[in-house]
Amino acid sequence: MDIAWFVVLAAFIFCIGAAGVLTRRNPLVILLCLELMLNAGNLALVAFSRMLGNREGQVFALIVMVVAACEVVVGLGLIVAMYRRRIPIDVDEVRELRG
């Protein structure tokens, strides 16, 4: 398979994730769509690493996975905190940043 197939597939997944982030209102699903976008970036990184015969792109992909895990953990912590204070789980309702 040519590398271009993988890169075009990564572009497709990235755009699906971007559409999800823009249209969904549940912050849980927005986090899931962010994961989609990060995974598309990972796929492109690994594809270019294969294209160049260079392993460094795979290390970048690993670091991206670590950052994605951190983002998920903090985001889910925020959602649980919202739930505990009975703030509606809807990004349109969360308008103010106050404690």
Binding site: A4, C15, G53, I63, A69, G77, R84
Partner: protein, 225 residues
């Protein structure tokens, strides 16, 4: 060669189908399950790209650990159904923006001057993406990013605990912890599941009156209720 193409198209269909499922399914729990399928398909694509260690890490860390975290939070909050394609300007502009982004990216990829894009990639040795090779690179050339990543994970774990724990001063009831917890149980909106989560969260402190054998009475009390 033919097998590789078949595998690619199966995995690509799985990945795109999973991604569409995440965006289009209304129940967040099914969205999480669709993302698990997407991640498995992506791991297959990584294998096709000779990134064996990344594929294994994707399966174990992402599809295993991170998705379990998601499932726990969805179960804790309860599946909140919502309408897809929200109202408002952004709900209408979003798909248009994504389509424009896709067109732009595709033009950029197809029109790029990278000749190697239309090849099968450089010739690589057998152990190209093996754990040994990646680990050697991580611990020799990328030692500082590796340590920074581990520190970032630590900070994120501490931050999540600080965010999600119950703070007395910021809750609506500023009383002692025990009355607060007692008053919370009937108030819990989705009913049984959230109440059970609370009781399992703070098992030891309220169990002081019941002594060491408190889990079993709690379970027995839950069953008739």
């Amino acid at each position: 060669m033919l097998l590789e193409q078949i595998l690619f198209f199966v995995a690509a269909a799985g990945a795109i189908g999973g991604a569409l499922g995440v965006v289009l399914l209304r129940n967040p729990f099914f969205s999480v399950l669709a993302l698990v399928g997407h991640l498995v398909a992506l791991a297959l694509l990584f294998l096709l790209l000779r990134a064996e260690f990344i594929a294994a890490a994707q399966l174990v860390v992402y599809a295993g650990a991170v998705m379990v975290l998601y499932v726990f939070v969805v179960a804790y909050i309860g599946g909140v159904e919502e309408t897809v394609g929200g109202e408002g300007a952004i709900g209408r502009i979003g798909p248009v923006f994504a389509g424009a982004l896709l067109a732009e990216l595709t033009i950029a990829i197809v029109g790029s001057g990278l000749d190697a894009l239309n090849t099968r990639g450089a010739n690589v040795a057998a152990g190209f993406g093996s754990p040994g090779a990646i680990g050697k690179l991580l611990l020799e050339k990328f030692l500082i990013p590796f340590e920074a990543a581990s520190f970032l994970l630590l900070v994120a774990a501490v931050g999540a605990i600080v965010l999600a724990r119950r703070r007395r001063g910021l809750e609506e009831s500023d009383e002692e912890e025990l009355p607060e917890r007692a008053g919370r149980a009937p108030l819990g909106e989705p009913g049984g599941r959230a109440g059970a989560g609370h009781e399992e969260d703070e098992g030891p402190p309220p169990g002081t009156a019941e002594g060491p054998g408190d889990p079993t009475p709690e379970r027995e009390a839950e069953v008739p209720a």
